[in-house]
């Protein structure tokens, strides 16, 4: 009797959030990801306050200076402090990436769930549409969309979000198909639950984990695409301290050796992407017992 109780206890323990969090922390890479993201979020929240200089304050007396104690990451061609611009710009790049994922998730996940749950013609037609969208790499699709909406950071985020719809639709659909076959959904159907109820209380919550994993990883990629669109002139406008735009501004100076204008914003982009990727992988590992055993 006592043994059974103990077994029950451990079983609920492995499913508890606390246990999962412990596992997550044990995974050293995920912990690194968490630390990186904490830093990034501090920058998003307090970037301008933490900046030693005004991100827009030009001072030609100190233009194009290499990193020094006064300007740890150097100054740009207008004499603006690169460190301050990176700190203040974190929110632009990050928020755009988050918005893109939210759009992809909000439009894609319901589409996938409905498509997977109802099957048949609904599934066929919506998945054809998804295939068409998928046939464009995000950058090409975003180029088409942004050129239609006009270049701005928000439009870049919207465009990337649209290119994310098929990704979330696919993930949600495959989960919905799986969940629909489970006994508890079948019994809910037998009990006469409405479709809306089943979708909202069974299918959607059970599709959350893979969606969260994808959302985390694609926020990271979102940083890359936002920066890329800004780089080719389809995102943030001057003089916004957006990271991709900063690289584009530094571009012409790299040939003459002023590397800091370009290198540092790029490093922060990388850091952000790595943070989100590691966290996504970490969540995947914690929530998927099969991967955990390996």
């Amino acid at each position: 009797m006592r043994e059974m109780e103990a077994e029950q206890k451990t079983r609920t323990d492995t499913d508890s959030l606390r246990y999962k969090f412990k596992l997550f922390i044990k995974n050293r890479l995920a912990l690194v990801g968490l630390i990186i993201l904490a830093v990034v979020f501090v920058l998003v929240a307090f970037g301008p306050t933490l900046s030693p200089y005004d991100a827009f304050g030009t001072d030609f007396a100190v233009k194009l200076q290499s990193p020094s104690s006064a300007h740890p990451l150097g100054t740009d061609n207008y004499g603006r402090d690169v460190l301050s611009r990176i700190f203040s710009g974190a929110r632009h790049t990050l928020l755009a990436a988050v918005i893109s994922v939210v759009i992809g998730l909000v439009l894609g996940a319901p589409l996938g769930v409905i498509s997977g749950y109802f099957g048949g013609k609904v599934d066929l037609i919506s998945m054809r549409g998804v295939d068409i969208l998928l046939s464009f790499p995000p950058l090409i699709l975003a180029m088409a969309i942004v050129s239609g909406l006009g270049p701005s950071l928000l439009n870049a985020a919207v465009a990337i979000g649209i290119s994310y719809i098929p990704i979330f639709a696919r993930v949600a659909r495959s989960r919905a198909v799986q969940v629909k076959r489970t006994d508890y959904v079948q019994s809910a159907i037998a009990l006469g639950s409405s479709r809306a109820r089943i979708i909202l209380t069974d299918v959607l919550p059970n599709s959350m984990t893979p969606l969260i994993v994808q959302a985390t990883i694609y926020t990271g990629y979102g940083i890359l695409w936002v920066a890329a669109l800004s780089f080719i002139g389809l995102g943030a406008k001057l003089p916004t301290p957006e990271w991709g735009l900063m690289i584009s501004e530094g571009r012409q100076y790299i040939i003459t050796g002023e590397w800091w204008m370009t290198v540092f914003p790029g490093l922060f982009i990388m850091l952000g992407v790595i943070g989100f990727t590691l966290i996504g992988d970490g969540i995947r590992e914690v929530t998927n017992p099969r991967l955990r055993l390996k």
Partner: protein, 339 residues
């Protein structure tokens, strides 16, 4: 016979895809906020008569649905419209620029395959040991680096610092004469012309953009191949082969590698597409005169026809690549039937 029917079906299936892409493209570009007519004429020539005649010339005096039907009619005749900023028909512009993009993406593709397949195998075989960890660092960096940033970094190191790379301006050094155009691929044309110095110059120009473009996708292939190899190595038939005393090298390359390769090959089509997309950024960084650079210029000049032409062109190329990839499954895995 079987093969031809499959071929035909695939081509027919491609049509709705291209059509859907066209509809999206068209609606999106027609709600552009800027006015392309003003852009072409410039403020000096923007008299009302000029504007009206230009609108008529560009077909902008019709309603959007009519414009779309007219556009489709043109497409069927192989006419992609006139590119105002380049001063040439779009189809001519794309065709003359495509060899540059094709040369770049193919070169990158070769670099990618040559380096990523061995890395994937090593990483999968030595899982969680030093070689795998080293490769993991490399792949994590690969997927998190912005392509254009890597390109600029390479320019700084190899052009500015070390002086090993040529200036990032186009496909040939300024001192070298262009060979007569045969294929449009400079590596081929220079050899045809027997100009070895030009060949070396073309190769020299190609290396940095090629590596830049290959890097991101290389990381993705390594990760996929590693995961698949790990799974394959746990299969019963591998254990049996080990028990039979077959050498590990033979097991790895004859048995495991071939079976683990299939999901990777599935990705190659998408990856070539992604290379074409990434080529846009790489071409901008290295002033590489390909279709991607043309697309970005078209956006800058509000050149509807140019951008649309690029997207149509892209979708068609992508469909062809996917068809080839599907066909190649049969070669790798005879169990896959064409249906």
């Amino acid at each position: 016979m079987d093969l031809w029917r499959y071929f035909l079906r695939r081509i027919i299936l491609t049509i709705p895809m291209v059509f859907g892409a066209l509809v999206i493209m068209f609606t999106v570009t027609r709600i552009l906020p800027g006015d392309p007519v003003m852009m072409i004429l410039g403020p000096a020539h923007a008299s009302p008569e000029n504007i009206a005649s230009m609108r008529k010339l560009m077909g902008l005096d019709h309603s959007v649905p009519v414009q779309f039907i007219l556009y489709l009619g043109q497409l069927l005749r192989g006419d992609l419209g006139f590119s105002y900023h380049a001063g040439n028909p779009v189809s001519q512009e794309l065709l003359s620029r495509f060899p540059a993009t094709f040369e770049l993406t193919t070169f990158a593709f070769i670099i990618m395959v040559v380096f990523s397949l061995p890395m994937g195998v090593v990483s999968g075989y030595y899982r969680n040991k030093t070689p795998d960890n080293a490769i993991s660092v490399f792949t994590v960096m690969g997927i998190s680096m912005p392509t254009f940033w890597l390109g600029l970094l390479l320019i700084y190191i190899f052009f500015y610092k070390l002086g090993l790379a040529p200036p990032p301006m186009g496909r040939l050094s300024a001192e070298v004469e262009f060979p007569a155009t045969v294929t449009g691929l400079l590596l081929v044309d220079t050899l045809v012309a027997g100009d070895f110095q030009a060949f070396l110059s073309a190769l020299h120009q190609l290396i940095l953009p090629g590596v830049t473009l290959a890097f991101f996708n290389m990381a993705i292939i390594v990760r996929t191949l590693k995961a698949d190899l790990i799974e394959t190595l746990e299969e019963d038939y591998i254990r049996t082969a080990k028990a039979m005393g077959i050498g590990i090298r033979k097991i790895l390359f004859r048995h495991a590698f071939r079976n683990a390769l299939l999901p990777t090959v599935t990705m190659l089509g998408a990856i070539y597409g992604s290379l074409l997309g990434g080529a846009v950024l790489t071409e901008v960084v290295f002033s590489w005169p390909g279709v991607g650079l043309y697309a970005v210029e078209s956006i800058t000049y509000l050149d509807y026809a140019g951008l649309q032409g690029f997207i149509v062109f892209y979708v068609v190329i992508f469909a062809i690549v996917n068809l080839l990839v599907d066909l190649s499954y049969r070669w790798i895995d005879p169990r896959v039937r064409l249906d």
